[in-house]
Amino acid sequence: MNEPFDNKIIEDTTVKLLKFAATQLPNDVSEALKKMYEEETRPPSKAALKTIVENFGIAEETSTPMCQDTGIHIYYVNIGEHFPKVVGIEETLRKASARATKEVPLRPNAVNPIVGGNSGDNTGKHIPYVNYDFIPGVNYLEITAFPKGGGSENMCTLAMLKPGEGIKGVKKFVIETILKAGGQPCPPVVVGVGIGGGADIALKLGKKQLMRPIGQRHSDPEIAKLEEDLLKAINMTGFGSMGLGGDISTALDVKVEYAHRHPASLPAAVAIQCWAARRATARIYPDKRVEFLTHKEA
């Protein structure tokens, strides 16, 4: 139990996750996009959805990245409290990012914001960014690779609302964010809303919601209703796919999560994900078995 876990397994699994994420949409996303293509009636959006469905189909068949923006590398790592000791996992994930950049290949997307220059291998200061959680009662290590595109990231927002504005203020802010974004984040989008906590907490919660499968509702009925209402309201804007005008294809889904807030603050964050809602998750068990949750190994 005191022997550290073999990092090579973590590295190889993570390279696979990055490749899966870049080249194949999780089933829930691809099915939702196909359904939307069938149901959208306005021609420009329907035409865009047709190209989208065609595009991810070919990407999967040919193992090619579905979008040239293969994202900045973010990982969600859930460490089961009964998983063996892991040493140097962050370095292992960095290695996996650099390796996948060469092997898939992925676009190098890590730029130094101070002096400029692209690192060339998707690693840099604080990048890849790793979110850690400890999970009680389980023995696996769960890794999600979440390559996040820049176009949709640029449309993410945070508001420090007055508590007096209440949940109505949050709803208003979400719609205003979508109005400003229009076609820029590559709709149909997935919208993650984080409420409360603090500025960073709201954004983190909002973004983490993008890991939830399309169509899955929050376990709290009140939040589930808020998700459904916001989804309907966002689609009422009529932006449609790629902002070309459409009745049902501005958003694929809305996910909401909250944290308790300070009496003086009401943070509200909106995280936006493009139609290429790429994520890939695997669980690694103490016996070195690897289980891919979102994708099938060939």
Binding site: A48, D69, E176, G182, C186, M242
Partner: protein
């Protein structure tokens, strides 16, 4: 929704035929330029320096591709469009300086660019964002690459294309903007959205 097939060079007469909502396909030469390549081109032009290729009557593509070098040759792996509004800062000056009549990108461009397009007779066309594999099917080969010091996403790729598209015309030479019409409609829909959510906009 009319459909047009253009071969480069694409003249101002050619682009004046098309209207917003039309679909065009391009064959010939297209070059990529994102934020940094726009900036560099304009800086060099100000100093009176020559561009690595003559941009006149070609199409500029807002794109930072995924590329790989195979046997010493560059190959395009994925090459969908990037968000065009970032180039609103440069595009009026760019099309004026270099006589570029077709801009390809995604998500639309703002009033400043639309105004310039009306004056200078140029069009903006949108490729479906992220549809990089469909886009790369239309790209036959890399003809040249310049300014690699900017990094592979930002540098200037000169591409030979065949039936590159579908490109949906978003801004035409009348300065009409499909994206503006949709955005105006979205604002007009705020009343009923507010009613539905129980909030006031």
């Amino acid at each position: 929704m009319a459909e047009y097939h253009f071969n480069t060079p694409i003249s101002k007469d050619d682009v004046q035929k098309v209207k917003i909502g039309d679909v065009i396909y391009i064959s010939g030469t297209v070059f990529t330029a994102r934020d940094e390549a726009h900036e560099r081109a304009l800086e060099l032009a100000k100093k009176g320096e020559k561009m690595p290729i003559d941009f006149k009557d070609l199409a500029v593509y807002h794109c930072g591709p995924v590329v790989q070098k195979v046997n010493g040759q560059w190959e395009i792996v994925a090459a969908g469009p990037t968000t065009s509004t970032r180039m609103d800062l440069f595009e009026d000056e760019f099309i004026k300086t270099f006589d570029v009549n077709v801009v390809i990108g995604k998500g639309g461009m703002g009033q400043r660019t639309a105004k310039a397009m009306k004056e200078l007779k140029a069009i903006y066309t949108a490729f479906v964002g992220g549809a990089a594999v469909v886009a790369s099917r239309g790209i036959k080969r890399v003809k040249e690459v310049h300014w690699l010091d900017l990094g592979t996403p930002e540098c200037l790729w000169v591409l030979e294309v065949e039936k590159f598209g579908p490109l949906i015309v978003g801004i035409d030479t009348n300065g009409d903007s499909l994206f503006q019409i949709v955005a105006d409609q979205a604002h007009a829909n705020l009343g009923k959205i507010g009613e539905f959510l129980g909030v006031k906009f």
